[in-house]
C-alpha cells in the first residue's frame, strides 16, 4: 500500500487499539483515503484518537476534505492519529472545531518550518496607514479609522472580506478571523488587529 512520504499507514497504533475496543474495522476509515489524490499539505494533531475521529466526522459534515493519517515522527504530539487537511482552510477548520468543542493540539504544515509569518510592516501615506501582514495589506484612514482599502492575497474569501470591511470603522468592521476561512484571511486578521491598535493609540 502506497502513501505520501512522511505519512504512515496506521498499524498497531492508537487507532487500531481504539477500533478493536469499539469493535470496528480500520479499513472503513481508509476506504478512499489512500486511493484519492488528496494532498492537503496540513495536519491537525489531537490529544486523543477519539478527538481525531470526532474531528474527522465533523469536518466531513462541514464539507472539508480530510483523511486520517499517522503523523510523521518529527511532527507527532499527543496521540498517533492525525487529520490531513487542506492547510489553506485552517481558519474555517479551527473555527468549526472550536464551535463544536473538539479539542486539538495544533494545525501544522506538512512541509517547512511550521511557523506562520508574524512580521507586520507599516507604510504611512499621510492621511492613511497601510498595515502589511504576510501577503495581505489593510489601509485605514488615520482620522476616521475607516478601512479605505484591502489588497493582496489570493484566496476567495478576500474579495468577500474586502466587500464587508470597506468604508467601515475598524472597531465596527467584521473581524477577518471570524468570517474568513483561509490563510489569507488569517494574514488579513493580523493586519486588522495591528491597525486597530495603531488607530486606538492615535486617538488617545
Amino acid at each position: 500500500m502506497k502513501t505520501r512520504p512522511g505519512l504512515q499507514l496506521i498499524v498497531g497504533s492508537g487507532l487500531s487499539v481504539y477500533c478493536v475496543r469499539k469493535g470496528i474495522s480500520t479499513s472503513m476509515f481508509f476506504k478512499d483515503g489512500w486511493k484519492s489524490a488528496f494532498e492537503g499539505g496540513g495536519l491537525i494533531l489531537f490529544h486523543s484518537v477519539e478527538d481525531a475521529m470526532c474531528g474527522e466526522r465533523l469536518l466531513k459534515t462541514c464539507g472539508y476534505e480530510t483523511r486520517l493519517v499517522a503523523p510523521p515522527p518529527e511532527l507527532r504530539k499527543g496521540c498517533d492519529l492525525a487529520l490531513e487537511i487542506n492547510l489553506v482552510e485552517k481558519v474555517g477548520i479551527e473555527r468549526s472545531l472550536g464551535e463544536n468543542q473538539i479539542s486539538y493540539i495544533d494545525v501544522l504544515p506538512l512541509k517547512g518550518h511550521g511557523e506562520l509569518l508574524q512580521i507586520v510592516r507599516l507604510t504611512d501615506f499621510g492621511d492613511a496607514i497601510m498595515v502589511k501582514a504576510g501577503n495581505m495589506k489593510l489601509t485605514f484612514d488615520k482620522h476616521t479609522g475607516n478601512v479605505v482599502n484591502v489588497s493582496g492575497g489570493g484566496c476567495p474569501d478576500i474579495p468577500y472580506l474586502h466587500s464587508q470591511m470597506l468604508n467601515k470603522r475598524l472597531d465596527e468592521a467584521p473581524r477577518p478571523r471570524d468570517i474568513g476561512h483561509t490563510l489569507c484571511s488569517l494574514m488579513l486578521d493580523r493586519a486588522y488587529v495591528e491597525s486597530l491598535e495603531i488607530w486606538k493609540k492615535g486617538r488617545q
Binding site: S36, A37, F38, E39, G40, G41, G42, G63, E65, N86, L87, V88, E89, G92, P109, K111, G112, H113, G114, E115, L116, L117, I119, T123, F125, D127, A128, M130, K132, G134, N135, K137, T139, D141, V148, N149, V150, S151, G152, G153, G154, C155, P156, D157, I158, P159, Y160, L161, H162, S163, G180, H181, T182, L183, C184, S185, L186, M187
Partner: protein, 302 residues
C-alpha cells in the same frame, strides 16, 4: 478564446459562463451584474477594457460565487476538468479560487488534452495551487507581488502565510535573488511579472525588463492593482502580442493608469480601470516601439 476563470464574493452565485461586458461599475455576464471590485472582477474588467481598445473579441468568463468555503471553487475546478478540451481556449487565465493541489493537477491534465495547448496564466490562489503542487513549469506567466515571490522562492511553503522568515524579510533589492531561487527550485512559470515599487519581468530565469516610473506608492494599497495586470496581459496575448510585448506594455500601463487616476490609497480599482483606454490611446504606440516589436505592433500602427 480568452477564458478567465475565478470566483466572486456573491456566495450564492451559481457557476455562470459567457461573454462579458463592462458598463459603469458592473460587469454583465449571462444576465448577472457583478460589481467591478478587487479580485477576479477587476481582472476581467481590465481585460475587457483592453479588448475594447484593441477592438478584439471580448473575454469569455467562468465565474462562481465563493466566500471562502471553497464550494464554488470546487464547482469551477470540476467544470474545467471536464470541459477544458471542448472549450479549447487560446489563453486560459486562472485566478481567485481556493488552492486545492489535487484539483489543480487535474485541471492541468485536462489542459494538456486541448488540441492546441492554451497559453496558461495564473495569479492569486490559482498561482499558489500551481506552485504548491509542483506545476509551475506548466504555466506561461505568473504575476506575483513581492511577498508572493518570496513564497515562490521558498521550496517548502504551500501558502504565502508560511514563507520562511528570512525570505519574507528580504529587502526589495533582493528581488533578483528571489527570482533566481524561484526558477532554481522549479516554482516559477516561464515568465514572472513581479509587481512592486519596481516591476520586473523575468523570462526563463533572466530579468529582461524593469520599470520604476512613474512611482505611485498608493497603488500597493489599492485592492485590484495586481489583478488588472493579469487582465491586461491576457487580453494582449490573446490579441496577438508576444508574451514579452504584452508584459512590457502592461506594467507601464498599470503605473500610468495610477498616475492618470490620481490614485490615493482610498481609490477604488474601477477608477484605475476606467482610465486604461486613455492610457493606451496616449502611450501604446510608443511602448510598442520600444518593446520587441513584431506583428502586433504593425497591427496597432496600421
Amino acid at each position: 478564446m480568452l477564458l478567465i476563470c475565478g470566483t466572486v464574493p456573491q456566495k450564492d452565485l451559481p457557476l455562470i459562463k459567457g461573454e462579458v461586458s463592462l458598463s459603469g461599475e458592473y460587469l454583465h455576464v449571462d444576465g448577472v451584474l457583478i460589481p467591478c471590485s478587487q479580485g477576479t472582477a477587476a481582472l476581467i474588467s481590465a481585460a475587457t477594457r483592453t479588448t475594447e481598445y484593441l477592438e478584439t473579441d471580448k473575454p469569455q468568463v467562468l465565474l462562481v460565487g465563493d466566500d471562502g468555503t471553497g464550494k464554488g471553487s470546487r464547482l469551477l475546478y470540476d467544470y474545467l476538468i471536464k470541459n477544458l478540451p471542448a472549450l479549447s481556449p487560446k489563453v486560459l487565465v486562472l485566478h481567485y479560487m481556493l488552492p486545492i493541489m489535487g484539483l489543480m493537477k487535474k485541471v492541468c491534465e485536462s489542459a494538456s488534452k486541448v488540441a492546441v495547448r492554451p497559453f496558461m496564466m495564473a495569479d492569486a490562489a490559482a498561482m499558489y495551487a500551481a506552485k504548491a503542487s509542483g506545476l509551475a513549469r506548466h504555466f506561461d506567466i505568473f504575476t506575483p507581488d513581492f511577498s508572493e515571490l518570496a513564497f515562490l522562492a521558498d521550496p517548502q511553503a504551500t501558502h504565502p502565510a508560511y514563507v520562511s522568515r528570512h525570505l519574507f524579510e528580504s529587502d526589495v533589492t533582493k528581488v533578483p535573488d528571489l527570482i533566481s531561487a524561484a526558477y532554481g527550485n522549479g516554482s516559477a512559470a516561464k515568465m514572472l511579472i513581479v509587481k512592486g515599487a519596481t516591476d520586473y519581468i523575468a523570462l526563463n530565469g533572466r530579468i529582461i525588463d524593469q520599470v520604476a516610473k512613474p512611482n505611485i506608492p498608493a497603488l500597493e494599497a489599492i485592492g485590484g492593482t495586481g489583478d488588472t495586470i493579469g487582465g491586461m496581459i491576457g487580453a494582449l496575448v490573446h490579441s496577438g502580442f508576444t508574451n514579452v510585448q504584452a508584459a512590457r506594455v502592461t506594467i507601464r500601463a498599470n503605473r500610468k493608469a495610477g498616475e492618470y487616476a490620481k490614485a490615493t490609497p482610498a481609490t477604488p480599482i474601477r477608477q484605475i480601470i476606467e482610465v486604461l483606454p486613455r492610457v493606451f490611446e496616449d502611450h501604446m504606440k510608443d511602448w510598442l516601439h520600444h518593446a520587441n516589436n513584431g506583428m502586433a505592433e504593425r497591427r496597432m500602427i496600421e
